[in-house]
């Protein structure tokens, strides 16, 4: 029973990080109907940008509490720099194309980004953990945890709420929902669908980069980060039902917790847990937990 607390704290903290990766993926899919492999690159780029800026700030002796706004800023910068550009140049071209093509185009982007990162940041691992340090630790049930882990959980919850509010109560949100439901009619009602697509994709990039940035205080950034992130993101997005934000959240929790359980009871299986969960879920619910088939009208 000494599992319960670690399971909740570590599990949910892990779930939070996983959710940050998956939610952007699933949001982009729900709007653009494109499964974006390059999402993993945005995750790692966000991380690199965060450690770079954070590193500068630290060496400039800035107040460590500033590292939190810096994490956000890094994500925003990454999104602004890459989001609209990539959407207009490559992603837009794949709308309505077969999945195979979409996956390959974004996979190619992913390969290119991998090397670009290597060229820019080299192969050594970076880290910048002042955010983790200033928050300190707290002891729960005789085990010391990072307050930063707790913060991650809080942020994830906050993010779900924020996205919900954004989608159902803001102008952009309404426009996104409308475009998703019916791109063509939306245009006849005065909605600039392609602008909405750009915005949605950029939000996706932002979420990915944010996930990467938020991961840096506890774990260094090294090549290969993106590849792991993207498969995990796919698995979680698929389990939740592609395009389902709440689905992604629940899937992330399930995956996070099962991984913790695995580490306690069957360490050998920890790496496959996401896939086992995915197999189990998709065999029972072929379109994921929250997903549903759209029967073709004939």
């Amino acid at each position: 029973m000494d599992v319960i607390i670690p399971m909740l704290v570590d599990g949910l903290a892990a779930s939070a990080v996983i959710f940050f990766i998956a939610v952007g993926l699933t949001l982009v899919f729900s709007v653009l109907r494109v499964l974006n492999v390059a999402h993993g690159s945005f995750y790692s780029i966000g991380a690199y940008v965060a450690v770079s800026i954070g590193g500068l700030a630290a060496s400039a002796g800035l107040n460590p509490w500033l590292s939190f706004p810096i994490l956000l800023l890094s994500a925003a910068l990454t999104a602004a720099a890459l989001g609209p550009f990539i959407e207009r140049t490559f992603i837009r071209w794949t709308y309505g194309k077969p999945e195979a093509v979409q996956i390959l185009v974004t996979f190619a982007l992913f390969l290119i980004f991998e090397d670009l990162q290597k060229l820019v940041f080299g192969v050594q691992s970076y880290y910048e953990d002042s955010a983790m340090q200033v928050l300190g630790t707290s002891e729960i049930g005789g085990i010391i945890y990072l307050n930063y882990q707790l913060l991650l959980i809080a942020l994830a919850v906050l993010l779900i709420v924020a996205l919900r509010v954004m989608l159902s109560h803001t102008r952009l949100g309404k426009l996104i929902v409308a475009v998703v439901a019916d791109p063509e009619i939306s245009q006849t009602l005065g909605i600039n669908a392609s602008r909405v697509y750009s915005a949605a994709f950029t939000i996706g990039v932002f979420l990915a980069a944010l996930g990467g940035a938020l991961a840096t205080p506890t774990s260094g950034v090294a090549p290969g980060l993106g590849a792991d992130a993207i498969v995990l993101g796919f698995a979680v997005a698929a389990i939740g039902g592609l395009g389902q934000i709440e689905g992604a959240a629940i899937a992330a929790v399930i995956v996070g917790i099962t991984r913790v359980l695995a580490i306690y009871y069957a360490p050998a299986f920890e790496p496959v847990m996401p896939y086992l969960v995915m197999l189990a879920v998709l065999l029972v619910r072929p379109y994921g937990l929250f997903g549903a088939a759209q029967a073709r009208r004939i």
Partner: protein
Amino acid sequence: MRFALHAALVAAFALVPLAAPWLGFVFTLVLAKGLAALGVAILLRAGLISIGHAAFYALGAYAVAAMSENAVSDLVLQLIAATLVSALAGALIGLFLVRYRGIFFAMLNLAVSMVFYTLLSKMYHLTGGTDGLRVDTPTVFGAVIDRDTLEPILLYGGLALVIVVGLAVHRYLKSPMGEALPAVETNEIRLEYLGIAVPRVLLSAYTLSAALAGLGGGVHALLVGHVVPDLAYWTTSGQLVLVAVLGGIGGVVGPFVGSFFLEIVRSFAVIYVADTWNLIVGAGLLVVIFFLPVGLYGLLDRAVRRSAK
């Protein structure tokens, strides 16, 4: 004219290694991966993208390794076993997977292959864990040979094998079952309404593709002489899809052209531009997708026909 093109390709394949023997190794690798990519291409024709076929490639490779561990040393037996084992696994897994389409098909293949990958790296006693297994030089029809004779056998025997398999697959693709594959993508409902059991169409395709991947894996194992779990990792699967699309999924030759392209680019990129070969491959892929949907082979083919006119 096509025939001339194919003859030229085969000739080049057979002759170049005589000049630069180390290319013999690379070319044999091209054949092995090309077989697997051909399997992936068959599924792609039905609009099904498998990010997990490396599992069957690895399965074939490990089957060969397991046999040489257990003193079944004949090359032919080993390759047959590799093919059959993978075909069987493909049939079983296919039973479940043919129900799925699009992303979910891709995801499930990914999941299955990752589970398999983990098993390979965890079951030390059987698989030697991440260090993998040695594959001893096989005997050929009982004759004991050394590695120096094995490699030409693999290259030229492999080439012959690929030609035979290629012709067979070509016939399959032209048969009703093969022609039904694109139809699954364009209008599955109509197929049902013609009374055709789509699951059965796909299951046979899946089994065939698994068998091809397994055969390729077997050749790989014999060639490299050492098998490791990474063979089953999802990036390997991604590479197979990439190779198939790069070469063009229209015909049988495409995947081999793609495989050739990728291996050559890699072999030379690691020599001259070690840090950017992903970038080169990625860019190449984009170019192919944006500008020549028919793939590299389609390009060759057109060029040849044009020059013929």
